[in-house]
């Protein structure tokens, strides 16, 4: 029976063309909303991933500057449940290449423990350093090129004069965050400590939390147990205001873009009116021949759900294409110095899909309900007479 009724509707080529247009319009609208939400989620996700690469899940530093990682601190770290941590000695300096120079943050790390935390895989000899991809681009550096680093050398030597050392570029790495790729240079911790006369002192500890542990719990535990001179921060706190802004924007844009969906839903309304006018002859005849209202309702609902389902499916396809363009074509790249990330990617959770698809379905069902009530309110005789006579 469904087949017979659907044949009545879809044997008409103009209806098929109209429905394809309606599905395409709705799919585009849904994909605009999904794309926007996906880009914002992707921005947040990529930025957090990039930040994690530099600092792990959380880190602490002393407000007094340098400190030794004594037994007491190690004990506190272990009792917090954290098993992976790495110490860092970092200082500011300048990278000099010919006529070009750039202010940098030099991080001295223990390669093995640092890799466990950051997943940045590099191992350097004492005369080598690792630089960020943007710094390499800015200074025109490639692997094995020489780079001079100017560092403050503590209290020894001529005051006010920096220590200038030359290193080979042993690795070019990427955090995925423009600012970090432009500013951070990695050296062996021992080499940096020696060059700056810092002895065995460090100024930062980065930690990874076990998967079953809540980051905030660890943060508050460390804050409570470590002395007041230590500041404990989560990896994303540096960008807290930015993340909050993105969250608010996402909600607002999601709501505003419902207008785009509503415009597409009006196309569906036009389709319902079109099909009602064009096919009401058939619908009333079917009712006259014994089709109950329940079945008419089911058929309409089936058509509406079909439009919605196909639109959702097509929008997923469109999002995949958009995502591919975003990650594979240079014209889709962002100015990283403004947006922190040079490249965006679309990240959508199941909740995002359900929310956008669900809202579009809600709009459709509201219109469907109104259209159906209008059709139901007309008697068969009224319909037959109006349509046939």
């Amino acid at each position: 029976m469904f087949k017979s009724v659907l044949t009545i509707f879809f044997k008409d080529l103009s209806i098929v063309r109209f429905i394809v247009g309606v599905i395409a319009g709705l799919a585009f609208s849904i994909s605009i909303v999904l794309g926007t939400i996906g880009i914002m989620d992707g921005f947040e996700f990529s930025l957090k991933e990039g930040l994690k690469k530099a600092t792990g899940d959380l880190f602490f530093y002393s407000s007094n500057g340098l400190f030794e990682l004594d037994e007491n601190i190690e004990k506190i770290i272990k009792s917090s449940g954290v098993t992976q941590y790495s110490t860092i000695f970092q200082t500011e300096g300048f990278a000099i290449k010919g006529e070009k120079s750039r202010g940098i943050l030099v991080k001295g790390v223990d390669f093995e423990s640092f890799f466990k935390i950051s997943k940045l895989n590099f191992s350097l000899k004492d005369n080598e350093l690792a630089i960020g991809s943007q710094l390499a681009k800015t200074l025109g550096l490639k692997i094995n090129d020489e780079l001079a680093i100017a560092l403050a050398n503590g209290n020894k030597g001529f005051k006010g004069l920096p220590e200038i050392s030359s290193f080979k570029v042993g690795s070019i790495i990427s955090h995925g965050i423009h600012e970090k790729d432009l500013r951070i240079v990695y050296l062996s911790k021992n080499v940096l400590q020696k060059a700056t006369n810092a002895g065995s002192k460090i100024n930062m500890v980065i930690l990874n939390a076990p998967k079953n542990k809540d980051l905030d719990d660890i943060k508050y535990f460390l804050k409570e147990k470590l002395s007041d001179r230590f500041n404990v921060k989560l990896f994303w706190e540096e960008y807290r205001s930015l993340f909050e802004a993105v969250k608010v924007e996402k909600t607002m844009i999601g709501l505003i873009f419902q207008l785009v969906v509503i415009i597409a839903i009006f196309n569906v309304l036009a389709f319902i009116i079109f099909i009602s006018e064009r096919k009401s002859q058939e619908v009333f005849l079917l009712k006259a021949l014994g089709l109950p209202n329940k079945r008419v309702f089911q058929i309409w609902l089936l058509i509406i759900l079909g439009i919605w389902g196909l639109s959702c499916f097509a929008s997923i396809f469109l999002i995949k294409i958009f995502g591919f363009l975003l990650t594979n074509f240079s014209f889709m790249q962002l100015p990283g110095e403004i947006y922190h990330l040079a490249q965006l990617k679309i990240t959508l959770s199941l909740y995002d899909y359900l929310m956008v698809f669900g809202l579009s379905l809600l709009w459709l069902l509201i219109l469907f309900g109104l259209g159906y009530l209008r059709l139901k309110s007309r008697s068969i005789l009224e319909g037959l007479r109006k349509e046939f006579i």
């Binding site: 029976m1 017979s4 044949t7 009545i8 044997k11 008409d12 002859q281 058939e282 005849l285 079917l286 009712k287 006259a288 021949l289 014994g290 089709l291 109950p292 209202n293 329940k294 079945r295 008697s379 068969i380 005789l381 009224e382 037959l384 046939f388 006579i389």
Partner: protein
Amino acid sequence: MSSLIEVSNLRKVYGKSIALSDVSLKMEAGQHYCIQGASGSGKSTLLYLIGGLENCTSGEIKIEGRSLFGLNDESLAKYRNSYVGFVFQFHFLLPSMNCLDNILLPARIGDTYSKKIKGHVEKLAERLQITHCLKKYPFELSGGEQQRINLVRALSLSPKLLLCDEPTGNLDSANSEKVITLLKELSNLNHATLVVVTHDNGIAGKFSNKFFLKDGALA
């Protein structure tokens, strides 16, 4: 013994115009009836009300003792589907389906389609000499052929009640007579009660059981 159709004090009002006013009549099973009246007299409205296509303003129609307007939508749809066969004045054949599919539409709507029904339909088509039309689309047929397809569709589920709205409206008198004879024959064959609505005195003269409607009331 109760009548097949019992209409009591039936009234139908459309806005300010009264289509039927206080109509009461009875029809017995297996008989042939004619409802005659001028255009706008309410005869088609009465037929559609008996056929369950419309609700009345007041009054009652009982079919085999059961109130038609007391049925829920599902039961009323079933009544229209299998108890009543409608022969519409304008044929109302769906242009997107071939004639066989048009004929089998009531069976498909009622989920009662079977080879037996198809066989019954083919026999009727053979009897009405329209077997060659079954695979054709309605627009490929003449008016007379469309009328016969319309008739086979109405009889496809062997209804107990055959309701015909001006079945000879577009035909000359010779063909009109043939159609009426055929309707009587087929209703006898199916043991169905035949109700024909017409404005034509000649057609009405072919029936011994007649109701005459004037301005919505039985005259």
